[in-house]
């Protein structure tokens, strides 16, 4: 399935719609960059220039003084990477069991995963807070990793399971007859073949961790613990914050995700639908 097999010939209408859609959808992104490069003084006194101004670096550095940008982004990265690793590890085990074994309780496991996926994670905010209070995981990045991984687990499992279902069982048969342990079979035979599905699931888990806000905003209180989502929201709420500074942080927060997404986009869409269909 190539991205470049467009079917229909263009008509003037399609071009027009394409231009309008691109302008409407792309404008907020452009405006974020444009504002980030503006001067706060100019924004307050005169209409914002439509073209980015390149020369307010010093003012921007002043405005960002005291905003823990580096720790915010690295906290988000820790949460995102932790979530991805834990989710993929558990989802692969889960998918392997569901795809390759018939056992009592198999339907129950699928049902539990499905219901976890259907329930908004926000409804567990209170009991998880109560639990974390007891475990000392409030105001702790690893607590957030646990929460994110639990809620990313179902869709990741379904994506990887669909990938495994598509691989003929005969390939593992030989390894099994040799009495290779199940985990050996999984890692040596199956894993390399389902790598695309695992990658798709990993990207989704990464995004879930990178942008997560509700649990982070409710649980994390220490400034040095802020992930970018919390830091940015605090910045945006302070009337004293400069708009170029807010937009700069938003850009730094969004850019890695957008670039990453555009690079892998083609590979994750099939996984996304596969996981959803079977979910």
């Amino acid at each position: 399935m190539s991205a470049h097999s467009p079917r229909r010939k263009r008509s003037p209408w399609t071009i027009l719609v394409a231009i309008v859609l691109t302008a409407v959808v792309g404008f907020p992104i452009y405006w974020m960059l444009n504002t980030a490069l503006s001067s706060q003084r100019v924004l307050y006194t005169e209409p914002q220039p439509l073209l980015p101004q390149l020369g307010n670096w010093e003012e921007l550095a002043d405005d960002l003084d005291g905003v823990p940008v580096v720790s915010m982004l690295s906290n988000s990265a820790i949460i995102a990477i932790g979530t991805t690793v834990l989710t993929i590890l558990l989802a692969t085990l889960c998918a392997y069991a569901l795809s390759r074994y018939r056992f009592h309780g198999r339907g129950l496991v699928s049902f539990l995963l499905f219901s976890t996926q259907m329930v908004p994670q926000a409804v567990f905010l209170i009991p998880i807070y109560a639990l974390f209070l007891g475990l000392g995981l409030v105001n702790n990045l690893w607590g957030l990793v646990l929460v994110n991984a639990a809620f990313a687990l179902p869709v990741s499992t379904f994506i990887i399971k669909v990938g495994m279902d598509g691989i003929p069982y005969e390939l593992e048969e030989a390894a099994r007859v040799d009495n290779s342990p199940p985990l050996g079979t999984l890692t040596a035979v199956l894993l390399p073949l389902v790598l695309p599905s695992i990658a798709a699931a990993a990207v989704l888990a990464f995004f879930a961790g990178w942008g997560e806000f509700m649990y982070a905003a409710t649980f994390v209180t220490g400034r040095e613990m802020w992930p970018a989502s919390v830091g940015l929201s605090v910045l945006a709420e302070q009337p004293s914050s400069s708009m170029p500074a807010i937009m700069t942080v938003a850009t730094l927060f969004a850019a890695p995700a957008v670039v990453f997404f555009l690079l892998v986009q083609r590979h994750i869409v099939s996984g996304l639908t596969a996981g959803a269909v079977k979910g």
């Binding site: 467009p6 079917r7 504002t35 069991a97 646990l146 199940p182 989502s229």
Partner: protein
């Protein structure tokens, strides 16, 4: 889900017993870790939630309230907040889902054609999905700014009255729906695009050669092909917008006067701002009920579709 190869079925009798044992023991071993995580993060919290919703717990000691029976639920039923929260949830969920489906399908139809700059257009149209919701909300917060935002500048430039986008009804709801749909539409576009690729070229071509208009071709040839995908996207987005908190929290905080408070906003505010954890848990139980209703509706629709397709 079709039957996959079954390790327990072995032609060699000597191996059958070990296989049978392994058939139970191995999946159990594989599933221990994932299930422990779910038990801690989902199942135990669910039970705890039911208990908390029956107590008068405060935030300082969420597990330690005293039992009050159904008082929290009675208070919710008696008040005016719950109907409004439910109406808001419905408006937000259906509004975001509907708008995203329309925009995303339109985008998919456009990107499915050949033109110069195709890659750029597709990239731009796909990007909003990857922007972290808080970043997206803060961009739009600035664009919706009453005194200096670009929207009001354009309106004033055209001689209109500035709109209090985020602090007046119904504009606050319209604004958060717009932002949410902006973030959802790329998913619709990408998934619909891959469904459009499954429409046989010759069939669409034949319909055009037969003199059918573009609209007729879409309605009778393309649409039936992408309908299952569309239904699936619909339920995915309903669930996704049901759980959305970030955009509303940053842009309106649920206001003005609760007009953008969805169920999720209500849970968080009741428990962590008013510190009434018991009441918050009661809201959460209603949220769970909503999710169950949506999930059942989805399963029913899928069942019926499967039956119709004779799968």
């Amino acid at each position: 889900m079709t039957a996959t190869a079954n390790p327990r079925v072995s032609r060699s009798p000597r191996l059958r017993l070990t296989r049978a044992l392994r058939g139970v023991a191995t999946p159990a071993a594989l599933l221990i870790a994932p299930m422990v995580l779910l038990a801690f993060m989902v199942f135990w919290p669910l039970l705890q939630q039911i208990w908390i919703s029956l107590t008068d717990a405060r935030l300082t000691n969420p597990g330690g309230g005293s039992f009050v029976g159904l008082e929290n639920f009675e208070a919710l039923m008696a008040g005016t907040a719950l109907p409004q929260v439910l109406a808001n949830t419905l408006a937000y969920t259906l509004g975001s889902t509907g708008l995203a489906l329309v925009m995303g399908t339109l985008a998919a139809l456009v990107v499915n054609t050949r033109f110069r700059g195709h890659g750029f257009v597709k990239g731009v149209l796909a990007s909003p999905w990857a922007i972290p919701p808080v970043a997206a909300a803060s961009i739009w917060l600035w664009m919706f700014s009453e005194s200096r935002g670009i929207f009001n500048r354009i309106i004033e430039g055209a001689g209109g009255e500035p709109v209090a986008w985020l602090t007046s009804e119904p504009w606050a709801m319209v604004s958060v729906i717009l932002v949410t749909a902006w973030q959802f539409a790329p998913l619709v576009m990408l998934v619909t695009l891959s469904a459009l690729k499954s429409v046989p070229d010759e069939v669409a071509e034949a319909s055009r050669v037969d003199g059918a208009s573009a609209v007729a071709t879409f309605t009778w040839v393309v649409w039936p092909h992408i309908l299952p995908t569309f239904r699936l996207l619909g339920i995915l987005l309903v669930i996704e917008s049901l759980r959305r908190w970030d955009i509303i929290a940053v842009m309106t905080g649920g206001g003005p006067v609760m007009s953008t408070s969805t169920i999720v906003v209500a849970i968080q505010r009741q428990a962590f701002q008013y510190q009434e954890v018991g009441m918050g848990a009661a809201y959460a139980m209603i949220g769970i009920t909503l999710a169950v209703i949506f999930a059942l509706a989805y399963l029913m629709v899928e069942r019926r579709a499967e039956k119709r397709n004779g799968r």
